[in-house]
Each structure stands twice: as C-alpha cells, then as structure tokens.
C-alpha cells in the first residue's frame, strides 16, 4: 500500500533522480567540470555553475544522522500526520540528504547515529514512486 505524500518537484533532472530511486538506487549529480555533487537535482552545478554536464553518481546509502526535527504544526494537513519526524543524514561520501526515519522516531535519535538507505512505496498526484528514507544501520 503506497503512502500518500505531498508532491515531488518533477521535470528534467528531477525525473532522473526518481527513476533511479525506482530502481532502488540513490544517485546524485556529479559535475563533469568540477566534480562537485549537487543535490537537489539541478540543471547547473551548485559549485562551478556548469550546465548540463553531469553523471549520476551512485551512493552507498550509508551515513549518520547529523540533525533532526519534528513537525508538531500541521503544515501538510490532510496528507501527513503530526508529529512528523525528519532527519538530516550525512552520507559517508559527503553529501547531506534530508529524509525520514523508518522504524524509529524522534525519541530514539542521537547525534551521529548510523543509518542505512531504504525505499518505501509512495504516491503523489503524479503517481507512484519510491521514496528514499533511512533505517537504523
């Protein structure tokens, strides 16, 4: 049963990201000009500004939680319940990825807690998709 989620941003590059997720892979854009990893998906490197010159680098999905917060106010009324937990994961390869905890909650989280990638079945107005989340490593 797919979880209902607020809408993704879709379009060029964004669609590539979600297509890799569908394959069970977390891939982010690596700039061909300078090597910088940009996330969220973009048409221009966040570092050097080069346009359209990317390869999609595969990430191990291992990392640690560096920060976290929980929504008590209902910003997504009717779509998501509160309290709603979010985590900030520093991937072992360096980039920082905002996500949700799977199988644990706010009270369980400690700084630098190791986590690993998982995908859950979700859907938004554009259809079904796989959402990258993190569970305890």
């Amino acid at each position: 049963m797919a979880e209902k989620r607020p809408n993704r941003v879709l379009g060029p590059y964004h669609d590539d990201f979600w297509a890799y997720c569908r394959e069970g892979e977390l891939r982010l854009q690596k700039c061909g000009a300078c090597g910088y990893i940009s996330w969220p998906a973009t048409d221009a490197c966040f570092d050097c500004g080069a346009r359209g010159d990317f390869s999609w680098e595969k990430f191990s999905g291992k990392g640690k939680i560096i920060s976290w917060c929980t929504f008590e106010r209902e910003y997504y009324r009717g779509v998501l319940p509160v309290p709603w937990d979010t985590i900030l994961v520093k991937l072992n390869e360096g980039p920082i990825f905002l996500s949700n905890p799977k199988g644990f909650a706010y009270k369980d989280i400690e700084a630098d807690m190791p986590v690993k990638l998982a995908f859950i079945d979700c859907e938004d107005n554009a259809g079904q998709f796989k959402l990258p989340v993190f569970e305890r490593a």
């Binding site: 966040f46 570092d47 929980t70 309290p83």
Partner: protein, 390 residues
C-alpha cells in the same frame, strides 16, 4: 574591499523614518470586528512614507528617488499612490536597494531617495510553510515528499545540530525570545508585549520541535519608510543624520545544509560582516548596538558569533544573563525585533537602528550610542549594514 566603497562610507545618511501602527493593526485584525476589513500593502506603504516625510521635515517635492518593495505593486501604481515623480526608481529587495540608492545619490542620479516597504501579509493570509509554497527558495518546496517545509524547519535543524555539538538545551535558547520580549514591552508599537518567562516558553507548544512558537516571528501587517540623502546636505534637518557607514553582502552557493547546519552560517556572516567592518573602518569592538535578523530566534546567537562578538559555539552562552539586553554588553533588537515587535523582513529593525542612533528610543534607549549594526541573515546569505550617528 575596493577603495571606492571605502570612500562611500558615511557619505549618505538616513534622514527620515516612518512606520505604521503594528500593534493597533494587529489587535484590530484579531478582535473579530466586522468593521475591520484588513489592510492593503499600498496603503501601509503610503502611511509609512507620509510619516517619514514628516519626520524628516520634507515634502513630496523633495523626493526625487524611490526604491520600493510593496508586494506585486508596479512602479506606475506606486508613484501614483505615493504622489511623487521620482527620476530614480528601483523596485526590488531592500538590501540591494539601499546599497544601490547610496550609489545613485553619490552619482547625482537622485538627491533624496525614499525606500518604501509595505506588506499586508496578515490580511492576505501569507503562509511560510506547507504545500502551497511551490517556488522561490528551493529548500522551501523541494522536500515536500519528505514532509519537510517552512522557515521554522530550517532553524529547527540548525539549532538541533548546534545544541548537540555544543551542549545547549531548549532552555538556553529561551533566553533569546525572552530578552527580546522584554524590549518589546518598552515599545508601545510592538505587537507582542505580554510578559514572557522561560517557564512560559518551555510550556509553550512546539511548531517544529525543538523550536517553540516563541522562537518564530510574527506574521503581521505593516509598512516602513526610510529616506536617504547626502550626509553633507543633512545637517539642517530635524534629526541627527544616521550615516550608512558600511555594508557587506554574501550569498552562498553549494550545499545549503553544510552552510546552514554544519557551519552554522558562519562563512556567510564572517564574509558579509567583514566587508561591512572594512568599509566602515571598524571592528566588532566599535559596535554598540546590534539588530540581528530574528525571523527565527536561533539566528541571533549565530550572528553574534559570526561578527566576532563571541567565539564559535559561544553565541548562545552570550545570550544568557541579560548580556544582550538593555544595560548589557551588546543590546540586541531593542524594539522587539521581528519576534515581538513586527515582522517587516528587517525594515523595522533598520528603523529601530535609526531611532537608537538619534537617541530617540525613549524607555528602550541604549545610552549615548554612536554605532549600530543590522544584518539580514537568511538560510542563503547575509546582508550587513553598519550605521553611525552623524
């Protein structure tokens, strides 16, 4: 720092200031009065403008420059609403507009420029989080699928990281909104003047945990106007001119999380503040009053660190025990900031800097000060200004 900017330091001053009735409008909007139909941004801008003219002893004919940020209002409408015929016009964002206006005045494109802001955000029902936000800053909408949005959430993530790294608690953060509320209580035009204690804070609801409702700014209606002209033409005016002594600007690229969370905005603040200090030929030791952006309470200590008033990790310790209060070593947001006075996207904070430097702030006056620093600090950059009594 170019020599040109160094030479511009102090050459232009703020000679008029006006704002609207934040407190009365707020109370009217919440009184369920059927007569209350709300405010509109143009009307707020006009009221602030007329008050600034009066304050500066000026008439509409004196205004030959206009820089404004009033919702979607186009230039033709704005000049009509204000009743002026400016030769120099810019519509945009306050902080670049103030710098640009100084250049324009210095280059003779205008003699006297009104910077005008009006935003009826409360009457318009503006929200700063949730699914309705689909454009603007990427981080405001990109993470919707993970249920992450809002200005509050930015500072919740940033504070959580900092508190764990340096060993702070929610109670430590309470000191910031509690102190700023004390200042607002001395300002009759502040929206929030009810006494606030640390216990009240800790008992209040979370918006985005670990941040409580008091860590986040208001959403209210208002307008502000600042009038600028050459300092050497500001001597025979009703008030002491307030010189624009320095500024700095830095906007980050690359990874927002790294800049905001892991680095606590320090690179933005150090670069932006450093430029302003350099242009003004000052250091943080010369600054007697600080007006740090406070749409979230936690960026107050980050700005205190970023400008060198405290060491990394010690900004929140600096906010304890009244050190940022009136009579403390660095009085901060003395009119109540955006947490308690009015959320005017920093414009009200500039107005307060002017009043403090004129020594007209009444019960909340910081005695005898000559310098004040303001910073528009966001999750993407920092625009810093240093003002000096002329």
């Amino acid at each position: 720092m170019t020599d040109d900017l160094r030479e511009l330091s102090g050459r232009v001053s703020i000679v008029g200031v006006g704002d609207t009735d934040y407190s009365a409008d707020w109370r009217a909007s919440r009184a369920n009065d059927p007569e209350w139909t709300g405010r509109d941004s143009n009307g707020l801008a006009l009221l602030a403008f007329e008050r600034a003219l009066k304050d500066g002893g000026l008439t509409r004919k004196d205004i030959d420059g206009l820089a404004f940020a009033v919702g979607p209002t186009p230039t033709e409408t704005m000049v009509d609403v204000l009743g002026i015929k400016p030769a120099y016009v810019e519509k945009g964002w306050l902080y670049s507009m103030m710098r640009n206006a100084v250049h324009a005045i210095d280059e003779g494109k205008a003699n006297t420029v009104a910077l005008v802001y009006g935003y009826a955000q409360k009457s318009m029902g503006v929200e700063y989080g949730g699914t309705d936000i689909q454009q603007g800053t990427l981080s405001y909408y990109y993470y919707h699928p993970w249920g992450w949005s809002s200005q509050a959430a930015h500072w919740a993530m940033t504070f959580q990281y900092y508190s764990k790294k340096y060993g702070y608690t929610e109670k430590d953060l309470a000191a910031v909104p509690v102190q700023i509320r004390k200042h607002a209580m001395l300002n009759e035009n502040a929206v929030m003047r009810t006494p606030l204690t640390v216990d009240d804070y800790l008992a209040s609801r979370y918006i985005v945990r670990p941040l409580h409702v008091f860590d986040l700014c208001l959403v209210n209606d208002g307008g502000v106007c600042l009038i600028l002209r050459k300092t050497n033409q500001s001597r025979d005016m009703p008030h002491a001119p307030v010189k624009i002594a320095g500024w700095g600007e830095y906007h980050g690229r690359k990874d927002k999380w790294q800049n905001m969370v892991e680095q606590s905005l320090q690179p933005y603040l150090k670069i932006s503040g450093g430029q302003a200090f350099s242009m003004a030929a000052m250091t943080h030791r010369d600054i007697q009053h600080l007006q740090p952006y406070d749409h979230g309470s936690f960026i107050v200590p980050l700005q205190i660190e970023g400008f060198g008033f405290a060491k990394p990790g010690e900004g929140l310790a600096f906010c304890q025990d009244g050190r940022i209060g009136l009579g403390g070593e660095l009085p901060v947001n003395t009119s109540g900031g955006m947490l308690s006075e009015s959320y005017m996207q920093g414009w009200n904070q500039m107005a307060e800097a002017v009043r403090q430097l004129r020594h007209e702030a009444g019960a909340r006056q910081v005695e005898g000060i000559e310098t004040s620093m303001f910073c528009f600090c966001s999750s993407t950059g920092a625009d810093t200004f240093i003002y000096q009594r002329g």
